[in-house]
């Protein structure tokens, strides 16, 4: 009876096993698909002309002149680059090596740039405008994602982000209209989001009802309730109840004049500046403070947290409430930051995209923020291209943010590990 395998060292503290590479053709196939789409697009529907990219705004300290590129040639060069990148990825997998992440990122940037050049042939793309809009649209996504990160890190899946955003938008519109104080609207939005969370927390934590079901039901409830009140109460009294004062943009001196970044990041409303602060605080608190350590321990292994005297369900309850307040605050941006009044179902699925950002961001506040920005960019790209008259039918363009979401979550996340006790109620 043959004995084999010489396992030698027993001293090392690591217990890693010998590894073999599992070939995954996912990345090369996806890249190849997009390269093919580009080739077909540029080959069959090629567009001649010159594409103009505007890089600076008039307020910038340093003016960078506009860029002019020949559409046809640029597209072809970039398409060849994409084919080469896809081929390189395929070769890497074939020799059983990993496809590096930078390759996917470079590919994505090249693809977006080529697509822009093609779609805007003979027209002008205002890069700062594109990005300013992207940040704007991602504000509620980022607040929603931060809420999701806090809730899921503590072990409760917050499907009700959508409802919390909508409740925040609705309440802030009324309160700000009545009081003529946008700040009062902000506070009211947080309270509204928190109230929605209380329901989720009470049912999911105390009564052990399935978290997903409670969340979905809450979304429907808030949508129905705000829709009803909107048509029966808000619409007839629009001047009194649905005419909130909006926050003005605040231009931060010096920082606001940096080319590209300045107008995009530092000429925004107070809500956006509060968002920067919230991201920093959540990221710091989650990983560097007592509260964060306890929160994460409860999301990973509640029994262990219980045996060292941490009150699992109480902590969960208040963390979910905090998450609701943050999402509600984000909802206020719809009415007080961008649109200027409440309309029925105005969140339009932002809460679900935020949930995707949580997963795409691997339950990390900074990464989830970046994911939110990406989804915001996709949404804005669709509207900018609509305005400059892109050759793609507008119905297709409306799908863009969701297509990006699906690809991002399904394709790029791969084997990420959620908090171990995410979504599981804790019963002693």
């Amino acid at each position: 009876m043959s004995t084999s395998v010489a396992t030698s060292s027993t001293s090392g503290s690591k217990v890693a096993l010998e590894k073999t590479v599992v070939k995954s053709w996912k990345t090369p196939i996806a890249l190849g698909f997009f390269a093919l789409v580009s080739v077909v697009l540029f080959g069959v529907f090629g567009r001649s002309g010159v594409t103009q990219f505007r890089v600076s705004t008039s307020a910038d300290l340093i003016q960078i002149p506009d860029m002019f590129v020949p559409s046809d040639l640029t597209c072809w060069v970039l398409a060849i680059v994409m084919v080469a990148l896809a081929a390189f990825a395929a070769w890497r997998v074939k020799v059983a090596a990993k496809v590096p992440l930078w390759l996917t990122i470079v590919f994505a940037i090249v693809f977006v740039f080529a697509f822009l050049t093609w779609a805007a042939a003979g027209a002008l793309i205002p890069i700062p405008g594109l990005l300013i809009g992207a940040v704007s649209l991602s504000v509620p996504l980022i607040f929603g994602a931060l809420s999701g990160v806090i809730c899921e890190r503590t072990g409760v899946v917050n499907i009700a982000i959508e409802g919390q955003l909508l409740a925040g938008a609705f309440t802030s519109a009324i309160v700000a209209s009545v009081t003529k104080q946008p700040f009062a609207g902000l506070i009211a939005a947080m309270v509204a989001g928190m109230l929605v969370s209380f329901v989720l927390a009470a049912f999911a934590i105390k009564y052990l009802v399935d978290q997903i079901i409670v969340g979905v039901v809450l979304n429907v409830l808030v949508s129905g309730l705000t829709g009803f009140l909107f048509s029966k109460v808000l619409s007839p009294n629009e001047q009194l109840l649905n005419h909130p004062p909006r926050f003005d943009r605040i231009d931060i001196p010096v920082l606001g004049q940096i080319p590209i970044i300045g107008p995009v990041l530092f000429n925004q409303t107070i809500i956006v500046y509060i968002m920067y602060l919230t991201i920093a605080v959540v990221a710091f608190a989650l990983f560097r403070t007592r509260w964060g350590l306890r929160t994460r321990s409860i999301g990973e292994y509640p029994q262990a947290a219980d045996t060292v005297g941490i009150k699992v369900n109480t902590t969960r309850f208040w963390n979910v409430s905090l998450g609701g307040a943050i999402a509600g605050f984000g909802g206020a941006y719809f009415t007080l930051g961008s649109v200027g009044l409440f309309t029925k179902d105005m969140t339009a699925g932002a809460g679900f995209i935020a949930l995707a950002a949580v997963i795409f961001g691997r339950w990390d506040p900074i990464r989830a923020t970046l994911a939110g920005l990406l989804f915001g960019f996709a949404t804005n790209l669709q509207s900018v291209l609509g305005v400059i008259g892109s050759p793609v039918p507008s119905q297709f363009m409306l799908m863009l943010p969701y297509v990006v979401t699906i690809f991002a979550v399904a394709g790029l996340v791969g084997m990420s590990r959620p908090p171990a006790a995410d979504g599981k109620p804790y019963i002693k």
Partner: protein
């Protein structure tokens, strides 16, 4: 610190888990709580630790009555616990785990990790633990994780330490080291409660022994008592600790495993290039600490692992690539390692569970409908043959005791015409009486000429059953040795040390 329990009673519904239990543990003493699985030891300790609230009785520390409303209170009073299933967050570092719940902080609730590392190093050095405070717990071997649990308790100045079945997950060497640590802690004046059902360990370290049976204290024993005496106190009757096993009548090699590997989803070779074979009428036992690839090997034999390399064949025909159904039809009997997850449907009756793998045709199914009369006769017969203690064949499997559940699984698997029996952890969590029964059934199967593969983490079981022993470590087979190989050598092999000299296997 002196610990005293007076008349502690804990009920779950009508079940009395602890019935007026009295216990006194002095500082500087190792007090062993000995009893079978389900005797109420762990419940008692959870009461002591504030996780459960007792209906009656009181807990005294240094003669003062304590009222614990949660583990936080118990810890503050100086009680520390090393849990059977470690209460550690796998993705946290050692330092983070140690400070969890009593975190040192700087202003604004900011964690003071340097202080935490220093504390871990201090305790670690004091007892010679050699634990890196910045290592992630999930990367550490089980034995080291257990030390982290001990450090966790000590960092809160625990004076009473409870070890709940601490050796279940350790190699024999790690067990020896743990014994030394326990003695050190005793020297340092801690009161130690050691919960176990392993007699050998009890006699090695215990100063006093209290035996618990069915929730009651049945008596004290001295560490000098013999194994048989202790076992009969535990079980309540005289028990046979070794089973009768004649010499194996070996046939041709039946199960042949060649250069076989199992690859997990992230590309790790959880079973790494192993080869062995089992002859007809032979029991080969796979020994090894939990998590060294045994589970995956067994699942691969039964067809449950998607990514494999190499070959497994039974009586000349390859099993690789066949579905579970086809493999079962070839005559493979399978006793899974976790009967509650893979062995039984808890909501089904005993009768339904007995034919779970035979619902694809005659005799139990005709024209798509169950033959209830035949099923009833068959089940009644098996109930008697396997001594399954239940009200009847209509009893839900989930309501049976662990021993009786395992008998149902065995009855199902052994009632077919077997060409191979694979039994993973066949006696895990069973009482001594049921262990005897299961073992004798497995030996019977062998004597009927069936090749048997037993996987067990209990060295006692391996030694009792095996004709040959294969030791697995990190997915590989360290060596294949005869069934009468001394324990200390098996222990070394379980820690991954290849056998010295005598290179040829039996």
């Amino acid at each position: 610190m002196k610990l005293e329990l007076r008349g502690v009673t804990k009920r779950f519904g009508t079940l009395v888990a602890n019935d007026h239990i009295d216990l006194v543990v002095e500082p500087g003493e190792i007090h062993c709580l000995l009893g079978e699985n389900g005797a109420g030891k762990s419940t008692l300790m959870n009461v002591l630790y504030g996780l459960y609230k007792a209906e009656e009785g009181e807990i005294l520390l240094n003669d003062e009555v304590q009222h614990f409303s949660g583990p936080g209170d118990a810890m503050a009073a100086g009680i520390g616990m090393v849990h059977q299933h470690f209460m550690l967050i796998p993705v946290f570092t050692v330092a983070e785990n140690v400070i969890l719940g009593h975190e040192p902080t700087r202003f604004g609730g900011q964690l003071d990790l340097p202080a935490a590392r220093k504390r871990v190093r201090e305790i670690s050095d004091q007892f010679g633990f050699d634990v890196d405070p910045d290592a992630r717990v999930e990367d550490l071997p089980v034995g080291v994780q257990q030390r982290v649990e001990i450090i966790k308790a000590l960092s809160r100045d625990a004076q009473v330490l409870v070890f709940d079945e601490p050796t279940a997950v350790l190699t024999p060497q790690e067990t020896d080291e743990l014994m030394l640590i326990m003695k050190q802690l005793k020297e340092a004046g801690k009161a130690i409660i050691f919960i176990t059902h392993k007699l050998r360990e009890v006699r090695e370290v215990a100063d006093k022994i209290t035996v618990v049976r069915l929730g009651k204290v049945v008596g004290q024993a001295s560490p000098t008592a013999s194994n048989e005496e202790l076992a009969s106190m535990m079980v309540g009757r005289a028990v046979e600790l070794t089973i009768e096993k004649g010499k194996a009548k070996l046939g041709e090699p039946a199960l042949v495993v060649r250069d076989f590997s199992v690859i997990d989803p992230i590309g790790q070779l959880v079973v790494n290039n192993i080869s062995f074979d089992i002859k007809a009428g032979e029991i080969v036992a796979i020994a090894g600490v939990q998590g060294n690839g045994q589970t995956e090997l067994v699942e691969a034999i039964i067809g449950l692992q998607p990514k494999v390399r190499g070959d497994i064949s039974l009586n000349g025909s390859s099993l690789i690539g066949e579905s579970v159904r086809e493999i079962l039809d070839e005559g493979v009997g399978y006793v899974p390692e976790d009967r509650n997850v893979d062995g039984l449907v808890a909501e089904f009756t005993i009768a339904e569970n007995l034919i779970l793998d035979r619902t694809n045709g005659e005799p139990f199914v005709k024209f798509g409908s169950l033959q209830l009369g035949l099923l009833a006769d068959f089940s009644t017969e098996k109930l008697k043959e396997f001594d399954i203690r239940a009200q009847g064949i209509g009893t839900r499997a989930g309501n049976l005791s662990g021993g009786n559940q395992q008998k149902v699984v065995l009855a199902r698997e052994l009632s077919r015409d077997l060409k191979l029996l694979v039994a993973a952890q066949p006696t895990r969590g069973l009482d001594v009486g049921s262990v005897e029964f299961v073992h004798s059934r497995i030996v019977e199967a062998r004597d009927a000429g069936v090749p048997v593969l037993v996987v067990s983490t209990e060295l006692d079981e391996v030694v009792a059953l095996a004709d040959r022993i294969a030791v697995m470590y990190r997915g590989g087979i360290v060596g294949i040795v005869p069934g009468d190989t001394p324990r200390d050598q098996l222990g070394l092999m379980m820690a991954g040390e290849t056998r010295k000299g005598n290179g040829k296997a039996a």
